[in-house]
Subunit: 338 residues, 2 copies
Amino acid sequence: MDVDEPVCLPRLSRVAVCGGTHGNELPGVYLVRELLKLQRRASEGEEDDGEEHTSMLTVLSNPRAVQQCRRYTDTDLNRCFTLATLNGPTSDSPPYEVLRAQELNAMLGPKGGPGAVDLVCDLHSTTANMGLCFIAYSDCDWICLHIFKHLQRRMPDTPMRFIHLGISGKESYSLDSVGKHGFAMEIGPQPHGGVRSDIYAVMSAGVRHMLDWVGLFNSGAVFEGGWVDVFTLVKNIDYPRDSKTHNITAAIHSHLQDRDFCLLRPHDPVFQTFSGETLRYEGGEPLYALFINECSYYEKGIALSLARKRRLAVPGIRAQTEEEEQADERALTSEEEE
Amino acid sequence: MDVDEPVCLPRLSRVAVCGGTHGNELPGVYLVRELLKLQRRASEGEEDDGEEHTSMLTVLSNPRAVQQCRRYTDTDLNRCFTLATLNGPTSDSPPYEVLRAQELNAMLGPKGGPGAVDLVCDLHSTTANMGLCFIAYSDCDWICLHIFKHLQRRMPDTPMRFIHLGISGKESYSLDSVGKHGFAMEIGPQPHGGVRSDIYAVMSAGVRHMLDWVGLFNSGAVFEGGWVDVFTLVKNIDYPRDSKTHNITAAIHSHLQDRDFCLLRPHDPVFQTFSGETLRYEGGEPLYALFINECSYYEKGIALSLARKRRLAVPGIRAQTEEEEQADERALTSEEEE
């Protein structure tokens, strides 16, 4: 294959936009509600729009947690989408979120199966100063990386980064892993349990540009290749804790607070103890700090995460034509028959 | 009485510093734990410090909510300190917070009684950009107003305001109302469920300067009078809501977000609906906006509060001497005998 020839990929006919996977992350909750309102109005106005190449599913993922304005009711829903949890036997009284994950898998999946939606975009917000982030399991999912590049071009004033979780698809645990392609769109800073209009506006623009891109892609547009900086998670660092009570004994140092994606060098300040002492980064390798002081991660024992950055080459892509898709299907069928 | 003669007030021999009245407001939780640690060390080191004029009680107000990192478990503890709730009969299974309020009243009160502690400082944090605020029921409690003036002088870089709730002592509902004098020290912005070291540092300095002031006052220092700007709450404004679902349909406008204590004038932007429309202030009187987009107030139906500002004359004060105190006690006793 010519290196300049774009990679051909199947069209994205079914896209899911999900919010409220964490019930207290309100920008996604209100954006999903707004999208549902618009969809209702559109369906009342123009009953049959034959032009549409894409069908959009809009999902409020954890309505019970949204109702209570909590991250979750029994267990973190966004850790329930492993194949083991989705397909395993359930106990007599399974956690609400396990049942809900299985429902969502039936609606959007099945995960790993041919019937799964083509793309899942799951909306999240964070108390950390993360700007707009894509979080994905793969660093070679050209669809996600091209959507990211598109948003970078269209929203030049928004700090934007691509985070690669660096664990195998098998171990993937989040809602976005149910789609053939998927990513979490994470935006901050904003406190949980509320909504800031600036964060809402960025999220709303991000989703609009993503859907625009999908429309362009499905209509046959060719997207040039290029480069994307990718942050791959290396490890998490917990707060210093009291050995007896397990209570934390320090907060993120004021020099590090709000400086997500800065390069943390050996001996840089990381924590300030509640008695005023500075604790420094003890690692030997400079790494990028992110999710600094995310409030939902206290219970997970994560004060910040550390990542390596590298520049990734992304090939040009285009959607398969109908003829190519049919040829692919025929090839697949004959393979299955062999 | 000569206007220049300082007002004489009883000494403050028992002071309570409380945190975790809202279990997810972590700066106060960690500061109280730190103070308890220092007290334990001091008591181990110097068994009997005869020099101390003041005894300090340090209280984690709502340990069950702290444990769960939630504002409260059954009901908002900081609304449970009305005389009706403290003294009323309890149902068969009273809310945990009602029982805890009665416990705290036994420990620090009884509210309104001669045995109550002299001063309660209750530590709070807020997601709104409030700086450091004193919140009090009275605008003529010279003790609270002088402590406020002292902190203003000692912490010139910290934005500081005095908020007067403007309801009668009878209706007072919060923990600080249990003391003979009392105020909430409210600091922001910071998300609930986490602790920022800058906010923690301001709170820690505020408490230290307050205790210093109490020490000076008890030692006979004379404090000059002066002026304090006081913000008196006038009303609360709720979010626009959908008439059927009661869900909010707008966020605080980006022009107003983070601008606590700005003067809101008629027709200024207040909300931005989730479909992008600007809603403006419809009141006729310019008022000061505060607690803008405090996340804990969504459930209370408060998007922001509005206040009037006025400048208050505060007289000079000093503590009564021992002789004056004894004379006062004799007078009181003879009054009782009459």
